[in-house]
Amino acid sequence: MILSIQNVTKRYDKHVAVDHVTFDVPKGSVFGLLGPNGAGKTSLIRMITTITGPDEGEIRLDGEKLNDRTPEQIGYMPEERGLYKKMKVGEHLMYLAQLKGLTEKNARKEIDTWFEKFGITDWWNKKVEELSKGMQQKIQFITTVVHKPKLLILDEPFSGLDPINTTLIKDEIRALNEAGTSIIFSTHRMEQVEEMCEHIVLINRGKNVLFGEVNTIKNEFKQNLYRIETPDTLPADFGDKFQIMPTSNGYITVQLDNEHQSGELLRYLVQQNIHVTRFQEILPTFNEIFIRRVEETQN
């Protein structure tokens, strides 16, 4: 485990921002930290990054309790980003890299490597305010990863990026992950979760409401829905035998009692000599799981 959150609670005044949350982030994984606005994600991230401390519970990074050296092992890109506008890009990166514990020499070396990778070697003496927003995002990304952190925490990393830069950053994240960096993604964009994450935790109202592997969760949440595509008309008694779900897209969706019933359905269709062009189990999207779970726990 790269990160282990044990029974962590954080209170502000009377408000409980994080309420006895427990989960683990496997080493080398891409992990989704999900939840609606105000669920307690930022409070949780702030505890992991040692900006604040938990009132109860324990957080361990790579088996070690959080300590003064923890910040040097974590790279955090907050959703609300910022840089010193008047500083030169090179100096700014040197400053943040050194604050993360790099020596001057190493910082310079790492920054040069990233500049080359992004093809921005001539940016060193530019002022931050001279850069476009997308360019600033690139710099922000470098500041997050320049010290080679074990754990990368990215809060909505693609917001405000154009498709080209999104791909660029996405590729870099993948490369870092392949090189062994564990990554925590905090996002609302569920298609990104499905695309990138292997594990997720869903937080709502400060509580852990869903945790596990993406594929396992999808299977858990499936409602035994099957889609049938056919040019033929279904027999009149079809509706008595199977429950047809109302759909808007013209396909026939059937909800079965359990997954073993799918054979029965297929057999019936064959017996009735229905020409089936497509037969498919419908797995829930993460969007649906997210909304369902949040609504369930709201009550």
């Binding site: 900006i51 910040p71 506008k85 008047k86 500083m87 943040l96 050194q98 604050l99 993360k100």
Partner: protein
């Protein structure tokens, strides 16, 4: 380099390299230079050029007056007033000065008349009045058969020279107070200026970091306390740099001015002084000597040493409060004004105490209290230092100031840590109070 050092370095360098800082630092002494040149130029300027005045002395008091300060006195030579007026109209003279007869030697009030269609410059008018008054005085002395030398003895310059009774007290002279006021005043002013200007600079910088959201990135690398402390120390170092630069440059200006213009020490005095008996150069030298000996009498090691400590104490107390206020404020500076006021009031109050009470009596009860109270002491005590207050008061004040500095920095750290990460909330003092115990 430690994180704190890195922060201090950045805070210092980014400010010192700013154009506004460089311009401000260089321009202030240049402004001073221009100011002095203008003053010197103005005092050397004489209004109106020379005028010719024909004097009709009906009283027979003035005799012959030598030409002085752009005024030429011409005797009437027995001509009547009408003839003289005509001569003025013809342009021979600028005006006629008629001195009527004195009613008696007891007359204390004499009106003399000046006939002309042109106005006389106030400066010349004053000068002529004084000159005639002196002449009348001489006339009276002669008429009353008074001994001029004896009269000189009547004027006595009285000054109190404080002397201590016991040995441990040090001898003071009349210069002690004056020199003390100047030294104390300068120190109080520097303190006031630095605390106000650089304290607020810290506040704005904290606000800026909060509004442009860099703070969240910073917080994941350093402790909030490190960032706050680094900022305070960095800005303070900038302030010291500026003050030292100003002192050096001003010193250079003071040295350069006399070389650029030929400054007559007498000319630096206001024109009112003109015509009064000249100060004996030997006496003037004695005066300067006594001022210098008074300066020498000050315990400079103690004075400068404690000034530095008070400066640091006061700066830390106030700039940490400003930092805390800045962290609690949102991007709306106007809204935050209500929070700033309670911090600026004590500084201004301390300055007023010095300006209105300290100057009249540096050892009054209020001054003693104010020099102990940590919010006032950094400004009030350096002022009192020049008047050699009792040692126990200095030490107590120093201890209280240092203690308060630590306390305020600690307290500000507690507030800053919470405030800096809080957005979109209007904050009251009650709310800030709660943060102390988070």
């Amino acid at each position: 380099m430690s994180k704190l050092q890195l922060i201090i370095k950045r805070e210092y360098l980014t400010r010192v390299r700013k154009k506004s800082f460089i311009i401000g630092t260089l321009l202030a002494p240049v402004g001073l230079l221009v100011y002095f040149l203008v003053i010197v130029g103005l005092t050397k300027y004489e209004s109106g050029g020379e005028i010719n005045v024909v004097v009709q002395d009906e009283a027979g008091v003035v005799g012959i007056i030598p030409d002085e300060k752009g005024v030429r006195y011409i005797p009437s030579g027995g001509r009547t007033l009408e003839q003289l007026k005509e001569a003025v109209t013809e342009g021979q003279y600028d005006g006629v000065l008629r001195i009527p007869k004195l009613a008696s030697l007891k007359q204390n009030d004499l009106t003399i008349f000046y006939y002309s269609d042109k106005k006389m410059a106030p400066e010349k008018r004053e000068f002529i009045e004084r000159r005639i008054a002196n002449k009348v005085r001489d006339y009276k002395i002669d008429s009353l058969h008074l001994d001029r030398a004896s009269l000189e003895y009547l004027d006595t310059d009285v000054s109190i020279d404080p002397e201590k009774i016991t040995e441990k007290g040090e001898d003071e002279s009349k210069y002690t107070i004056g020199v003390g006021l100047v030294i104390g005043g300068i120190m109080a002013f520097i303190m006031f200026f630095m605390v106000m200007m650089y304290g607020q600079m810290v506040m704005r910088s904290v606000m800026e970091e909060k509004t442009n959201r860099i703070v969240e990135v910073m917080m994941s690398s350093v402790r909030p306390f490190q960032l706050m402390l680094g900022k305070i120390i960095g800005a303070g170092a900038v302030g010291l740099t500026q003050v030292v630069a100003w002192i050096v440059l001003s010193g250079a200006v003071m040295f350069v001015v006399p070389l650029l213009v030929d400054v007559d020490p007498q000319a630096m005095q206001a024109p009112v002084a003109a015509g009064q008996p000249q100060i004996d150069p030997e006496m003037a030298q004695g005066e300067a000597f006594r001022v210098f000996s008074e300066l020498g009498k000050q315990n400079w090691t103690l004075l400068v040493g404690s000034f530095v400590i008070f400066f640091l104490g006061g700066y830390f107390i106030y700039s940490s409060m400003f930092a805390a206020i800045g962290s609690a404020m949102g991007d709306d500076y106007g809204e935050g004004q209500a929070l700033v006021l309670p911090v600026t009031i004590p500084i201004i109050l301390a300055f007023y105490i010095v300006a209105f009470v300290g100057i009249r009596n540096p050892d009054s009860g209020l001054m003693v209290f104010a020099s102990m109270f940590p919010l006032f002491s950094p400004i009030v005590m350096p002022f009192r230092m020049a008047f050699s207050p009792p040692m126990w008061q200095i030490i107590l004040s120093l201890v209280l100031t240092i203690g308060a500095a630590f306390f305020f920095v600690w307290m500000a750290g507690r507030i800053y840590r919470v405030g800096i990460l809080l957005y979109g909330k209007k904050v009251s003092f009650k709310e800030i109070g709660k943060w102390l115990f988070y």
